[in-house]
Amino acid sequence: MTPGLAGGMAAARGVPISRHGVLRMIRHDAFVRADGRKGIRNTIVVVYLVECAHHVAREIQLPFREADVHLIGFGGCFPNEYSFRMLESLCTHPNVGAALLVSLGCEGFNRGGLLRAVRASGRPADVVVIQERGGTRSTIEQGRRWVEEARRALEDTPRGPLAAHELVVGTVCGGSDGTSGITANPAIGRAFDRLVAEDAVCIFEETGELIGCEQIMADRAVTPDLGRILVESVAKAARYYTVLGHGSFAPGNADGGLTTQEEKSMGAYSKSGCAPISGLIKPGDVPRAGGLYLLDVVPDGEVRFGFPNTSDNAEIAELIACGSHVTLFSTGRGSVVGSAISPVIKVCANPETYRNLAEDMDVDAGRILEGRGSLDDVGAEIHRLVLDVARGRRTASETLGHQEFVLGYKHFEPVGPACHPTYAGAAAGG
């Protein structure tokens, strides 16, 4: 197989052709970045590089928060390779057009390295250092002026065609209950199957929520080596959570009828659909060929820095760092979150929750339980909605102003070639 080769090379010339010859044009006016990647939003990010710069960054962003200017950042003062890579991936995400870094001045974060990386991608970028700019008030004023200029510059962002095979879609579940695994999650799986058939990149994640599913998942890997790697990634998660003394299971999960980690896992696993699994990636890896990928979010090596992902939004940030244009979020209990940078589509598994929180939800998947639709109907609706959101339609969480963002400390080793067997031959075009 040489997946992605034709697609990647043709896309670089601006003519989207998928490897399957399936062409589903999404829009003709996607935002084309200088590095060739294509976005569905034209966002400016204001990025604090230590908690001490958080307030100033938030004040810079505040007047523009309804104008596609988002606040992201990293709170730690100690340097960390993972968090650097995350912010580099996020500041150069195709949905991002420009980045303003906000530094206190004495923190450990390599602001010069991040600034160089963002500028190298062709995006307008700058850094304001509070200790060098006369303090809080003047840094806020200078930062706001920079954002004003960047907004004007982004009005001239080049536009171009975007087809389904150039789309990256992630999925996550949060606030799961006994309905998640029988309505929203398998419906997302159906939508993923459609997207993978159109040669899009689809990413599922949280190996800690796949504990108990590792063998059936390994059987779907495109090579036996990859199958073994998938099993090992889940075993790593089980070890990690065992040391921490706590699985990826919240009290609300039990209130909603889920009893064990492996039960929650089986439900979560169904988000992946039925397609073969093409590879394993880690936060910041952007798949170079269409297909279904597992994102390994559990750190490598000895257990350190605490829980792998402290909340759902840390997982969403990692999916976005892997290139996700859109994230499908399945919820039973009723999560209301969205995200900075990429829109979140909320698929509500539980019909009672939907009635209670309708304004926060995009899809009523729980209707399956009330005989008002089948899994296929809801899967088709989710697929249509992904394309509409890629065309610019605002999701419920975007409309309500949700722009959550969380980033902590982690440690990862790079993935080996056996983790992405379908890249062979795709590298030249990818």
């Binding site: 699985g247 009893t259 339980l369």
Partner: protein, 106 residues
């Protein structure tokens, strides 16, 4: 539809709507099976559709999701009080008393 039998080998069904103690619940339009609910339960909860012995695997989606910690009769709620994970212990707010300085563990 009151409940869903996700796989023919499953020894539990999942409630598709809230059910009161004593309600007759059925699945597969009643052709597949029915039983009387032993207690009042919310949507999404599990009910034994066969007798399950202590130590037996609880099957959902056709795969094991844990083991019974005591004998379970058809119609009974299957949850934290009569089954456990074969992987990781399940945390509930009851355990949270540990952090609140209260009465201690379960």
């Amino acid at each position: 539809m009151h409940a869903i039998h996700l796989s023919p080998s499953d020894n539990i069904v999942v409630l598709a709507r809230r059910g009161e103690a004593g309600d007759m619940i059925q699945w597969g339009d009643g052709a597949e099976g029915s039983l009387r609910l032993a207690s009042t339960l919310g949507l999404g909860h599990k009910v034994a559709c066969r007798r399950i012995g202590t130590g037996e695997k609880i099957l959902k989606y056709g795969v094991s999701i844990g083991s019974a910690t005591r004998d379970i009769e058809p119609g009974e709620h299957v949850h934290l009080h009569n089954m456990k994970s074969d992987y990781l212990p399940t945390y509930t707010l009851e355990h949270g008393r540990l952090f609140g300085g209260g009465a201690g563990a379960h």
